[in-house]
């Protein structure tokens, strides 16, 4: 618990969870900067060592997927490359994500246009996408956290991790325990990331002109804001 010092309890807890996942992303980042990884990046070979995927198997791991997406370099004839691993929902089994990279297919996924790739590339900063249905990648309902990898000052790709929306919610609700404060966590497109009011559903968009019951607070390090609400209860008849 280091990320949330000086913040109210909820944004502090959110920041802690987010920083935990970004610490995992940081490990992937370090692995992508090793000398042998740089050779892979330059010549289109394997970049990350076998040890990286093992990070997914740690008992307290929130991420179910992680890896590196290497930016294509047409001028050097290097295509887009993915080194992304997933752990099965029932745990234990690791496998590489094999996405559909043919533009002609129904399942084609244009990674370079995906927000989790494009935003770190454009801004040079880390980003969190979601909740979203990862139709062409994993078929799960996810938050994807990414940051850019720079080699000699040049954008080389992104490293990141996938966290299932359910796991994020379960973890945070457990952290907050008996606290019955009603609040929403909303992302930069006004989509609800987490809600403790049954009237506002995760994945829904906040209707325009519906402010919370108190001032919104930015959550440090992520494009999210914390919004207290006062919705009462649905169960008292």
């Amino acid at each position: 618990m280091t990320g949330g010092r000086g913040l109210p309890p909820v944004p502090a807890a959110v920041t802690d969870v987010v920083e935990r996942v970004f610490a995992t992303v940081g490990e992937v980042h370090q692995a992508a900067l090793r000398p042998q990884a740089r050779t892979g990046l330059r010549h289109g070979g394997a970049v990350l060592g076998d040890d990286v995927r093992e990070v997914l198997l740690r008992p307290d791991q929130l991420a179910v997927g992680l890896g590196l997406v290497v930016a294509p370099r047409p001028e050097r004839r290097l295509p887009l490359r993915l080194e992304w691993w997933q752990v099965d929902p029932d745990g234990g089994h690791l496998h590489a994500l094999e996405p559909d990279l043919r533009p002609t297919s129904l399942g084609y996924y244009d990674y370079t246009a995906a927000e989790w790739f494009d935003v770190p590339r454009r801004t040079g900063r880390r980003h969190v996408v979601g909740p979203y249905v990862d139709v062409h990648g994993t078929g799960r309902y996810l938050l994807t956290l990414t940051e850019p990898v720079l080699i000699d000052g040049e954008f080389a790709g992104v490293v990141g991790a996938d966290v299932p929306v359910r796991r994020f919610e379960t973890h945070l609700l457990a952290e907050l325990g008996a606290d019955r404060t009603q609040f929403l966590l909303v992302n930069d497109e006004d989509r609800v990331v987490l809600s403790t009011s049954a009237r506002r559903l995760v994945g829904g968009l906040l209707p325009p002109g519906q402010p919370g019951s108190g001032p919104a607070a930015a959550v440090p390090g992520v494009p999210w804001r914390f919004l207290p609400v006062d919705d009462g209860t649905l169960l008292d008849g």
């Binding site: 002609t104 129904l106 927000e115 139709v135 990648g137 968009l205």
Partner: protein, 258 residues
């Protein structure tokens, strides 16, 4: 199987459970996956054992299906090192396969399929009007533009499948997205109406554009009604194609005589 991912892989290789003629079901599933571009020309299929396990059929059934796919010219099997079964995307064969499938179905089957599709896509459109972000709405528009520009039948089918699947993803629902993927593997087994009447592509494109406009205007009721209405129209097209095939002495009539 290198290139297939996520829901698409899950749907193509989901266990089959539609009755006695399982090898035919395998042929249809693979044919539809090729028609939708989920299996690309030249792509290698998983090994016989892997495929049989994935589809939940016996190796015997799978071998029958592969033999049939080879006979149809949709699969090439090479022996020895670097051998295996490879996909051959042949539009003429897929067209004939779709006609045969249509002839196997009754008009009530077509109505049922349309009813489920209207329920799933209609719900997705309603929810998308409330939940789609501006980026997602722009992506839907882009897909409809690509559908309008697509010249080949497979290109049109892919863009169309993509439209409905993205619509379900815009609803923020993994389950609706999976349902839509499954439905497209079934719909992909049927003839593509614009292949018979090219001007129908314009009708399809105009309808999808109107739905995206309604979603952008956050008009959930209109998005749903337009989606359901269009799918009903599509069902009627299929039913008419089915009835016409009988009248013309198509595969059904011939089969019943012989």
């Amino acid at each position: 199987m290198q290139l297939l991912s996520g829901d698409a892989r899950r749907a193509v290789f989901a266990p089959l459970h539609d009755g006695a003629l399982r090898s035919e079901a395998v042929v249809r599933r693979v044919g539809s996956a090729i028609a939708l571009g989920l299996l690309g020309d030249g792509e290698q299929l998983p090994t016989e054992t892997e495929l049989a396990t994935l589809l939940n059929v016996s190796t015997m059934t799978l071998r029958e299906a592969l033999a049939e796919l080879r006979k149809l010219g949709l699969v090439d099997t090479r022996r020895g090192r670097g051998g295996g079964s490879f996909v051959r995307a042949r539009d003429d064969v897929l067209g004939a396969l779709a006609d045969t499938r249509l002839a196997d179905l009754g008009t009530t089957d077509l109505r049922e399929l349309g009813d489920v599709h209207a329920a799933v896509a209609g719900a997705a459109a309603r929810l998308a009007a409330a939940r789609a972000s501006r980026t997602e709405i722009a992506r839907l528009r882009d897909i409809v533009d690509r559908l309008a520009r697509a010249e080949s039948v497979p290109g049109q089918r892919r863009a169309e499948g993509r439209y409905y699947i993205e619509l379900a993803a815009c609803a923020q629902s993994v389950r609706l997205t999976m349902q839509e993927m499954d439905l497209h593997l079934e719909l992909g087994q049927l003839p593509w109406p614009p292949a018979h009447a090219p001007e129908l592509l314009g009708v399809i494109v105009a309808s999808h554009r109107a739905v995206v406009d309604a979603i952008a205007a956050r008009d959930a009721a209109t998005a749903r009604a337009l989606t359901e209405g269009h799918i009903e129209t599509r069902t009627l097209w299929s039913i008419e194609l089915r009835l016409r095939a009988v009248a013309a002495g198509g595969p059904v009539a011939r089969r019943e005589v012989s």
